[in-house]
Symmetry: C2
Subunit: 299 residues, 2 copies
C-alpha cells in the first residue's frame, strides 16, 4: 500500500469516527426544544470534509495523544466551524442558499432558528472542552478552553468575519488579504492543530511552536486554494455556490494575484508548512499528508 | 443606616466595579477590527441593571469568595446576557429598535455587525472563565466552564429562546410558561449565582443546592415581574419598547394569569426564594436583599 492510499484510509476512518461522535454529542432530535436540536444536527451532520478534526487527530498522533481525546477536541472545533458557516450564510451576511450541497440552515428551517443554532453550537463546543477529560491535568485543559475561545472570538474567527465585511468592494493588498484570512479561517485551523497536540504529553514548547507555524501555513494555503476553486470549479463539485466571492465584490487571492500566481503561492505555503515540521520525525507523517490533502484538493 | 439604604450602597459599588471591569475586559475600541470592538462595547457598556453580576457577588459573599473572582464570574455571565439581547433584538427575532434606552446594536451599527458582536461576546465570556483564576483548583474551574456552557446552550438560554419562538401566537399554560422561562432567563440567573458561589470554598453541596433553588425562584420571579412591567410601565421607564410581548402575540404571565394574580405569584416566588436560604445565616443577607430588589423593582 503506498502512502497516499494509506492516508485515504486513515482519513476516512477518522472522518467516520468524527461523524459518529458528533451524532452522539449533539442533543437527540426528540429532546425539547426539538426543532432547534433537529436544526443543529442538520447543520453539523452528514457533510463537510472535517479538515479541522483531521488536523486534531494528526497533531494528536504527533503528541502521542489518546485518539479519543483528540476526537473530542476535533469535534469541538468542528462545532465552532459549523456555527460560523450557519451564521455566515444568513441573509445579513453572505445570504447564501447552498452549503455542502444542501439548502443552508436558514433556508431549510428559518432565520431565527439558524441564529439560535449557531449560538447553541458555540456553547456546545465549550461544553465539550470542559466536560470531557482532554489533558493530563486540569490547568492544561483550562488553557485549551482559553485557546479555543480566543481563536473563536473578536481577535480570531469572528474578528476575521468582521474584517471580511469591511473588505467588500475594496481592493486589498496581499498582506491585507493575509491579515483577514489568518483571522477568518486561520485562527480555528491553528486551534484544531494545537488542541490536538495538547491532548498529548509528547511535545515541548518548541515542537508546539512548530505545529502552530505548520497550521498557520496550511490555514492560509487552505484559503488560497478555496479562492482558486471558487474561481474555477463548478457549483456541483464545490457543494456551495461557485464564483460568489467575485460577484459579491469580495477581494480574493485570485483577484489580487490571478489564478496562476495563486496556485504558485499555495505551493509555496505547502513547502513552508512541511519545512515547519522538520525534525519531528515519523510521527508527523499525517500532518505532512494533510498539507497535501489541503493544497491538492479539488473541492 | 437601615438595611435598604445599605443594600443600595452595596449594589451601587458593585455595579460600578462591574462597569469598570467590563471596560477593561472588552477589547479596546482602537484594536482591529475596530468597528466590531466598538459595537461590542456599545452593546455591553453604560447600561443594564447588572442583576446577574450582583447575584454572583452576593453568592460569592455567602461562599466567602474573593470578590475579584466573583466579579470575573459575574462579568462573564453578563457578557452572555448582553450577547443574547443583541441577537434577540435582531429583525429575524424580536425586531426591536430600543434597548436600555438607546438604539439596539443592529440599528446603531448594522445587522451583520450585531450578529458578530453576539458571537464574539459569547467567545469572550468563555475566555474569561478559562483565563482568570476563579476557583481553588483547576478541576472546579473546568466544572464552572461547563456550567456556563450548559446554561447558555440549547438546553439552557438558547433553548429557551427557541421555545419562545415556537410559542408566538399560542396560549401556554402556566407550567408551559414556566418551562420556557426556566430556560430562557432562569438558566443564566442560576449560573450567575452558582458561579459566584463556586468562586469560594465555603459551601457544601447542600448549601449549593439551596443557592440553586433560591436562584431558580428569583429567576422566575424576575420574569413574572418583567411581564407585569411590560404590561403596566411606560416605555421611557423601561428603556425598551413596552407592551410589545402582547402585541407580538407572545404568551406572558399577565396574559395567562392577569396582573393581580401575576403580582401575587411573584410575591409567592419571593417567599420561596427566601425560604430556600433558611439556615445559611447572615452571609446570605445580600442574596435576601436581591430577592426584594428583583421583585419590587419598577423597571
Amino acid at each position: 500500500m503506498n502512502s497516499a492510499t494509506d492516508f485515504q484510509g486513515w482519513a476516512h476512518a477518522r472522518q467516520e469516527r468524527i461523524e459518529t461522535l458528533l451524532q452522539t454529542l449533539l442533543p437527540a432530535p426528540e429532546i425539547a426544544p426539538q426543532r432547534l436540536h433537529q436544526a443543529m444536527r442538520y447543520a453539523v451532520l452528514g457533510a463537510g470534509k472535517r479538515v479541522r478534526p483531521l488536523l486534531a487527530f494528526a497533531a494528536g498522533e504527533l503528541a502521542q495523544a489518546d485518539p479519543e481525546r483528540a476526537a473530542i477536541a476535533g469535534a469541538a472545533v468542528e462545532l465552532i466551524h459549523a456555527y460560523s458557516l450557519v451564521h455566515d450564510d444568513l441573509p445579513c451576511m453572505d445570504d447564501d442558499v447552498l452549503r455542502r450541497g444542501r439548502p443552508t440552515c436558514h433556508v431549510e428551517y428559518d432565520e431565527a432558528t439558524a441564529l439560535l443554532v449557531g449560538d447553541a453550537l458555540q456553547s456546545l463546543a465549550f461544553q465539550l472542552v470542559s466536560e470531557y477529560r482532554l489533558a493530563a491535568d486540569a490547568s492544561t485543559q483550562l488553557e485549551m478552553v482559553k485557546l479555543l475561545a480566543v481563536a473563536s472570538g473578536s481577535r480570531g474567527m469572528a474578528g476575521g468575519q468582521a474584517i471580511d465585511l469591511d473588505a467588500v468592494g475594496k481592493t486589498l493588498s496581499v498582506p491585507e488579504l493575509e491579515f483577514m484570512h489568518i483571522h477568518k479561517t486561520g485562527a480555528l485551523i491553528r486551534a484544531a492543530a494545537l488542541l490536538g497536540a495538547r491532548c498529548g504529553n509528547g511535545l515541548d514548547d518548541k515542537a508546539l511552536a512548530q505545529v502552530d507555524h505548520f497550521a498557520k501555513c496550511i490555514g492560509l494555503a487552505f484559503q488560497v486554494v478555496d479562492d482558486v476553486l471558487d474561481a474555477e470549479a463548478p457549483t456541483a463539485t464545490l457543494g456551495k455556490t461557485a464564483g460568489k466571492d467575485a460577484r459579491q465584490g469580495k477581494p480574493t487571492y485570485v483577484s489580487a494575484l490571478g489564478v496562476a500566481q495563486s496556485k504558485a503561492f499555495a505551493a509555496e505555503l505547502r513547502n513552508d508548512a512541511l519545512k515547519a515540521l522538520d525534525g519531528l520525525g515519523e510521527r508527523a507523517l499525517r500532518l505532512r499528508q494533510l498539507a497535501d490533502f489541503i493544497v491538492l484538493r479539488k473541492f
